[in-house]
């Protein structure tokens, strides 16, 4: 209890820290939303400066932060200059899609990497293990952007899957089932891209920790007792080996969320990614900060979930044996 309480307090501090740094960074980044208008010779600088003051961009950083905090307390999280609307609903309408993509990616990642990691460890040194290791090191090393763009190009060229968006233009006419199929088929590519990069890391870690556990005496003993291979691996070894992998889970959830932003942009998935990228490039100040705060929230949430799972798995943490002293 006290451990969780401490984690929550830290998370709150973290979010405040992120918001302050966000404001500092946005202050540092040159240019403002209305700068693009300067390129249009027909718009006068007076109009631009009057627009700036309308949106409070000429205020000092502290004033803006104060205003933002107040608006955050009203759950608005500021006001988007480009959309002329409060930030929170804008974000929420896209966050749903991002969460859908990220959680699916997460599930798929674990579905793929747990069997692969355990299996590779069980057959360490053989073909399967070698190919898993080579494949994972390849996937880890190529930048995600390159993987994503290349896969996308292949898919487009070969017409394997529909690309981009979430539903086709007129989904109302379709039955629920057809709609679901449609969404699934469009989600497939971004999910695969997400899964590839993330599971490469998890497979590696899981393989290593399973190998470690396989070496321990209790497994040797269990083997001596004649417990079946499958049962041994998944009932006895995996739960012990899972603990370091679970602590990875927090990172991987956060990684999936931030990774999904990139994949969304490349695949045209209507999530937070395109919105935040666009807002960043156009300096839609509060929208950017809102987006960052949301992804920081996801990250903190992911770590918290991982901590709770660890707590459930590893009682040493609860007593503070690992943390205190």
């Amino acid at each position: 209890m006290s451990y969780l309480g401490r984690r929550l307090i830290r998370a709150a501090f973290l979010l405040v820290g992120v918001s302050i740094l966000c404001f500092l960074f946005t202050e540092m980044a040159p240019g403002s939303f209305f700068d693009e208008m300067r390129l249009n010779p027909q718009i006068s600088p007076e109009t631009i400066s009057s627009l700036r003051s309308r949106y409070g961009l000429d205020q000092s950083l502290v004033v803006r932060y104060g205003r933002w905090l107040r608006s955050a307390l009203h759950a608005d999280f500021g006001y988007s200059i480009a959309y002329n609307a409060p930030v929170a609903p804008l974000l929420w309408s896209r966050a749903k899609n991002t969460l859908l993509l990220a959680t699916t990616g997460m599930l798929l990642t674990w579905l793929v990497s747990i069997p692969l990691g355990v299996w590779a460890a069980a057959r360490s040194g053989r073909m399967l293990d070698k190919s898993v290791r080579v494949a994972s090191s390849l996937l880890v090393s190529i930048p995600e952007v390159v993987i994503a763009v290349a896969l996308l190009a292949i898919v487009v060229r070969w017409r394997v899957l529909p690309v981009g968006g979430m539903t086709s233009m007129d989904d109302e006419g379709l039955s629920q089932w057809a709609r679901l199929q449609e969404i699934a088929s469009r989600m497939l590519l971004p999910t695969i891209i997400l899964t590839l990069g993330e599971s490469a890391i998890i497979v590696r870690h899981l393989r290593a920790s399973v190998l470690e556990v396989l070496d321990t005496p209790f497994v040797q003993a269990a083997r001596g007792l004649g417990i079946g291979r499958m049962r041994l691996l998944f009932r006895h070894v995996l739960p012990v080996a899972a603990s370091p992998a679970i602590s990875l889970l927090g990172f991987s959830l956060a990684g999936l969320l931030s990774g999904s932003l990139l994949v969304e942009v490349i695949c045209g998935w209507p999530g937070l990614g395109p919105l935040i990228l666009d807002a960043t490039l156009s300096r839609d100040f509060y929208l950017v900060i809102g987006g960052i705060m949301l992804s920081a929230l996801f990250m903190v949430g992911g770590n918290l979930v991982a901590d709770i799972m660890l707590l459930a798995c590893d009682p040493r943490i609860r007593t503070g044996a690992l943390d205190a002293r």
């Binding site: 006290s2 007593t319 503070g320 205190a324």
Partner: protein, 281 residues
Amino acid sequence: MASNFPGSERQGHPLLHVQKLSKHYVRGREWGKSVAVTAVCDVDFEIHAGQTLALVGASGAGKSTVARCVARLERPDSGEIWLDGTDIARLNSRDLLPIRSNIQMIFQDAETSMNPRFSAAEVIEEPLQIQGASRSERRDIATAVMREVGLPAEWLKRPVLEFSGGQQQRLAIARALSTRPKMLVLDEALSSLDLSTQAQIANLLLDLQSAHSMAYLLISHDLTLVARMADVLSVMSDGRIVEMGATQQVIADPKHAQTQRLLASARAAESKFDLASGASA
């Protein structure tokens, strides 16, 4: 310094004099309030040069805490620890450093108390290195103490992992000897060894004690060993010393219930052992 402790019949000042030693631990925090657990409470005793005092008691009685406080691995909450005329209970680590060479600790598990990456020489020289001795000085002392504990000096270059359990314990003793201490704290130092090795090491310790007239603070739950080595026996229970006296006297006539319990269980174990050995013979 008037003293009414057993063994105080000896001449001169005691080498170690512990007064009203107390130590609490903080076990986690619950809603901002710290929950203290008392480990040691108002412990008094003294040891003279060349003498051995044994602390016995059930596990959790606070023996090890006393040992750690005396070796200043922990800072006691209150009380005084006079070592050779200096109260070390409150000293900071810089002032403590020169005094450290006078008191050394030998741990229960010799293997884990030595960095497996080190060679024997590195292990033995570590306290000297911390004290700031020169390289050649360290080498000389290391060779000398190796011989003293009965290990060939050529083994100095060997990694620690290649030594057997008994040899590792000898190595640990050699390390403790390297600073020529006046006092050794033996925290269950022999309990993880098999019986014959234990006897060898015990003999070694007794020989060293008479050679250098060192004082020993012996922490143990093994009454047979205590009976053999200790001059004074003190029994701890729940952080307090409940009984203290000359070893033979306490064993012969235990006063406190805790002492009686300890003795009874030791005798039971002993008879079992006798049975076992008898059967095997």
